[in-house]
Symmetry: C2
Subunit: 126 residues, 2 copies
DNA sequence: GGCGTACTTCGACAAACTTCTAAGCAGGAG
DNA sequence: CTCCTGCTTAGAAGTTTGTCGAAGTACGCC
């Protein structure tokens, strides 16, 4: 038929071979989130009220020392996934949506037009 | 207006804190793709004509020995991201869409109804 | 100034990862 | 059967990563 072919998996990763440099860049990003602690940290920061979380809010959820949490936050920050700012006594972290969206675009670029440019999403408030 | 609120980043990872067990499972999956070589392997397999690629097709693109490629393929297979089958002389690998979609759903669940179930996509042939 | 709290940096160490060489197994060809 | 090719397994070396304790920096309070 003349209908578009149905492809089982259409993530961009499965559309054309990834260039070497691109793969290296994305792998670095993926390595930053490929850890249970960092995944939870990212999730806690992103879902926290106001869009930002104090380190003190995060530490209590883990059986880890403060230096370890600080290390993981640094890995996420170095990767560009989060951004931190000191305000008075506390340090607040916030998600960097552009970087997170790079990962989303890798595996599931449902919105084709947006995939190549800025990804702006709307969600119904539950 | 009555329109739904626009949220900057709406990946599920930023909607509610990830449970510990869930984070561990996803981190294992992410660790499997968090490597430039494996990312390219996955991409080459997924984008290969017929949806599957022989190991011999993959090896030549890398400056690595055959055992190393074999090792990376095993990591991807153990994670459930690809599946391999021997046919005669050659071994063919194929992507497992369900597993790849888990990653896509993590960071960019654009199709809300599909995100929780099976994701079936249509792509226009260029 | 001196002290206490919040967080980060430093230095160290065990565990895990990437890569290699060498050896093994499975199929096809002569 | 014997050899050759395609791929995997096994073992080892070097590097990276996750975690800790100790020390350092920044800020607010007395």
């Amino acid at each position: 038929m003349a209908a578009p072919a149905t492809i089982q998996c259409c993530a961009p990763i499965a559309r054309e071979p990834l260039a070497e440099a691109e793969a290296a860049e994305l792998a670095a990003l993926l390595k930053a989130v490929a850890d249970p602690v960092r995944l939870r940290l990212l999730s806690m920061i992103g879902s926290h009220a106001g869009g930002e979380a104090c380190v003190c809010d995060l530490t209590d959820s883990f059986d880890l020392t403060a230096p370890t949490i600080s290390h993981h936050l640094k890995v996420l920050r170095t990767a560009g996934l989060i951004d931190g700012e000191r305000r008075g006594t506390w340090v607040y972290y916030r998600i960097v949506p552009e970087t997170v969206n790079k990962l989303g675009a890798l595996f599931a670029p449902l919105a084709e037009p947006a995939a190549t440019g800025r990804v702006e999403l709307e969600l119904l408030p539950v």
